[in-house]
Amino acid sequence: MQAGMKDFDWTMFFVTMIICGLGVLQIFSATHDTIWQGSWWKQLMFIVAGVALMWVVANIDYHALIRRVYPLYIASVVLLVAVLVIGKRAFGSTRWIALPAGIHLQISEFAKIAVILLVARLLTELSTEVLQLRDLLKLGGIILIPMALIAKEPDLGTALTYIPVLLIGIFLAGMPWKYWAAIGLVLVVVVPIAYASLHDYQRARIVSFLDPERDPQGTGYQLIQSKIAVGAGGTWGKGVTKGSQTQLRFLPVPHTDFIFSAFAEEHGFIGVMLVMVLYFVLLMQIVQNAQTAPDRAGMYVCMGVGALLLFHILVNVGMVVGRMPVTGIPLPLMSYGGSSIWSTFLMLGLVNSVRVRRFVN
């Protein structure tokens, strides 16, 4: 079927394009005299390919995808296992699968999509008014498997991004308060155990988040340098390619995880406000699409995407201003990287797939 692409969410599209454009500009500025100086061009290619992917997905009926979600989910889990077995190791963790043509895919970014669809399906299939314990355990199980595999890479930050998908789902589906209490209780028990089983660097990150100045050269370094970069940007910013923290590389990875820090240094509070407004508009568009979704499955898909993006923004930007620990998760649409760009566009494609079907009938 063809559901009339005039209903495509053009507001969301333009907002997305502006954010991506600012991202490319910032990638250029942050890498123009480094070995990554061609990154902005590659990012542009990723975006073009991402838009194409979005278009394709928007044209696929999301019900068809939900129907085939089990094979998708199983394929994702198999690939995550494959990452651990044959993956490419870089920066102390194994997150990528090398494809021909020099492309490295970060499977954990794509597995999110399968999880969003599967959560939507399970919640749609509920036979009762509210969630039962059985459903909760089932949902928990399907989230936990990819999370555990990703945490093993180790990539705790990306693993954590799966939690909001689950939370928004059970929140929307409705759950008795005693389950919430039980979850809270479990967290109280699990968090200390989890903390004890963290890798040293992960623990150090949490400690240095709580008190970055304690070890200014070690793990607190990134947090401090990021805050310095943001603060030094002031109201108007230092201008493209003029931020000393970015250009002299005091800021770690200023074109990927800390891109917003570099952006804040060079474009100041004004630039930050612009981008924050754009992200907010993007999120509100997604929520609006959820509200006008033709059915619950579509609503769950949109809200899953929205919650995931909100979580990414909260953790990444929060890290940039020193209000969140360093987790190494990218800022959607701005951070350099094909996997992140493509998975984000795929998710936005899902949202559009829901949107264009809202008036069918």
Binding site: I228, S244, Q245, P294, L310
Partner: protein, 631 residues
């Protein structure tokens, strides 16, 4: 019903009885609104974060960004060189690399490995870092100077950001002293300013870690020698690599210090001392310039130029020979018979004796019921023979007749019992005993027998070699005692001490000292052909004669003071050989060697001057036609 898309897919597994319930996407409208408000809250949370950093107090972060970006490294100013009177370099500098620790990214747990890698003592290093803890963070610490190639290799392979990024090297200037310790005591050495010094007002202008003169000329003229450090300000990246030089404030080198020392004489003096403990001082009695100043045993100041190693310091300070003592200005010993010319002068000037006054020597003389010994039986002795033969009995008589007050008065006139005022730190004053002195210091009455001991330069009388050269030189020029000094250009702050001596009296004493060298006196070994050398020997007990007999390691000190020419002196030399015993006579040849070196050089220069004029007939003609202003 609005569920069209699902109807198109009959395979879907949603149970039909729940279709109505599942159909309504608006069932969660309130919850979606809650999500929207959550998003608002999240964005406000983030935006306030930016507000805090970028709007509320961006200066803090701009400043920190600047400190990240801009690195200031000191350019160490070289100290001035120390030259001899002919401009020959005695103390030089050479470029070395120093290691500094940047304290902004210093990690204490790295210190252990850094200390190991550079062969530093870990505890020393830790203490040093702790000492700096109160200072601003941007001030680096110099932890090792004069890096060896091995040190440099260690630094270069470990200063990457992942290992020890706090290590940085800077070029600096290291002091280069004569290795054999020539002139070491007068020059002194430099060192890092100590905590104790920093508390003193005169050091207030210096910074922690600064290298300052610790002793000798290095300390005395630190302000002249010290340059002004420069600074290099540059933009660096996160690896500390320089990207751009913002500015260089060049270092201003310290001024050179030209001394009055004549290296030719200095070397002779050092060599003549050989292995003996002692000192040689050569002065120009006409103006107080110090021509040579040697003290033995000596030390290698280069060991102090870099931060001295604990083991070296221990070795030097525990040496029984006390090599750090500048015996020329700090050794205080009884002058022995070298005091006799001053006693003679006191007798003549006070009128208690004249040149014909006779005292009888019967191998000694009895005063106040006690027999004071002389080395020989001299019989009836007058002034000239008393000095030439150094007859103790004669001088017992002179001293007794002249009285302690007159002796002390003239001893003070020649500069004993007070610092000479030489431009070196920590000079000793020596002692001129007198009833007044004894009452002040030990609350005891003066016994007349003490006067007898003082008459031959014993008792509590002590002088330094420098004082002795100045005293005899001042007498020889007729009663002017210049302040000794080592800085050539110095206009002495103090006027020379003058005391109008009767020229006849001076001549009588000088004649005696001429006889000591040239008439078969005790100083015959100082004789130089074709030159009038005057002198006086001295053998001074350092303990009672009985004690010295039972303790073979305690021997008499030997003195010799000489000057030349006798009636128009240009150089006066005093020599001290500590613990010399019977070898005492060797002190005289040492003085002779220095004096000879002085006049040999003078002759050499005159000859060279004449040859130059011969090679240049025009100049010779000019100098022949135009009478010299001095003549």
């Amino acid at each position: 019903m609005r569920f069209p898309s699902l109807e198109n897919h009959p395979q879907q597994q949603i149970s039909p009885q729940n279709l109505k319930l599942r159909d309504d996407p608006k069932f969660a409208a309130t919850k979606m609104a809650i999500f929207q408000y959550t998003a608002v809250a999240v964005f406000l949370f983030l935006v306030t974060g930016f507000w805090e950093l970028q709007i509320k107090n961006p200066e803090i972060y701009s400043e920190r960004a600047e400190r990240n970006r801009i690195k200031e490294l000191p350019i160490v100013a070289p100290r001035g060189k120390i030259l001899d009177r002919d401009g020959r370099v005695i103390v030089d500098n050479h470029s070395t690399w120093s290691l500094i620790l940047s304290r902004e990214n210093l990690k204490t747990e790295h210190l252990h490995e850094i200390a190991d890698g550079l062969h530093l003592d870990y505890d020393d290093l830790l203490r040093k870092v702790q000492r700096y803890s109160k200072r601003p963070k941007y001030e680096p610490i110099i932890i090792k100077e004069e890096l060896t190639p091995a040190d440099m290799a260690f630094v270069q392979s470990h200063q990457d950001p992942e290992t020890f990024p706090e290590m940085e090297t800077i070029e600096s200037q290291r002091r280069l002293y004569p290795e054999n310790g020539i002139l070491a005591h007068a020059i002194g050495y430099t060192g890092e300013i100590s905590e104790a010094e920093l508390d003193l007002p005169e050091y207030a202008k210096y910074n922690q870690g600064q290298i300052v003169g610790k002793t000798g000329l290095e300390k005395q003229y630190n302000d002249i020698l010290l340059g002004v450090d420069g600074e290099r300000q540059s933009v660096v990246d996160n690896r500390g690599r320089e990207r751009e030089v913002l500015g260089i404030k060049p270092a201003i080198p310290g001024k050179n210090l030209q001394t009055t020392i004549d290296l030719d004489l200095q070397v002779v003096a050092e060599l003549a001392l050989e292995e003996h403990r002692g000192a040689v001082v050569a002065l120009n009695p006409q103006n107080g310039e110090v021509l040579a100043m040697a003290s033995n045993p000596t030390f290698d100041p280069n060991k102090f130029a870099v931060r001295i190693k604990g083991s070296d310091w221990k070795e030097i300070t525990s040496d029984p020979g006390n090599p750090l003592l500048n015996r020329a200005t700090q050794a205080q010993w009884a002058p022995g018979s070298t005091f006799k010319p001053i006693v003679a002068l006191a007798g003549l000037e006070s009128g208690s004796i004249d040149e014909n006054t006779v005292f009888n020597c019967a191998g000694g003389a009895t005063f106040y019921g006690h027999f004071y010994k002389c080395l020989e039986v001299h019989g009836a002795v007058t002034l000239h023979r008393g000095i030439v033969a150094s007859c103790d009995a004669y001088f017992y008589g002179v001293g007794n007749k002249t009285g302690i007050d007159n002796l002390a008065f003239y001893a003070h006139q020649v500069g004993y019992g007070a610092k000479s005022g030489i431009d070196l730190p920590n000079e000793a004053a020596g002692i001129v005993p007198s009833p007044e002195w004894q009452m002040r210091t030990s609350r005891q009455k003066w016994y007349l027998g003490q006067t007898i001991s003082v008459s031959i330069g014993q008792g509590q009388t002590t002088v330094t070699p420098l004082q002795m050269a100045r005293a005899i030189g001042g007498i020889a020029v007729g009663g002017v005692w210049h302040t000794p000094h080592l800085l050539l250009s110095a206009t002495p702050s103090e006027k020379p001490h003058e005391w109008a001596l009767n020229p006849d009296n001076v001549k009588k004493v000088v004649d005696g000292m001429y006889g000591v060298v040239n008439e078969g006196g005790t100083g015959v070994r100082a004789k130089i052909p074709n030159l009038d050398v005057c002198g006086k020997t001295g053998t001074a007990q350092v303990a009672s004669a009985d004690y010295e007999k039972t303790h073979k390691d305690v021997k008499d000190n030997a003195w010799f003071v000489a000057y030349a020419p006798c009636y128009k002196p240009e150089i006066v030399v005093s020599v001290l050989w500590e613990n010399a015993g019977v070898q005492g006579a060797h002190a005289a040849p040492t003085a002779r060697d220095v004096i000879k070196a002085y006049f040999d050089k003078k002759a050499r220069l005159t000859e060279a001057e004449m040859q130059k004029q011969q090679r240049n007939p025009a100049a010779a003609l000019v100098s022949a036609l135009i009478p010299k202003t001095s003549s």
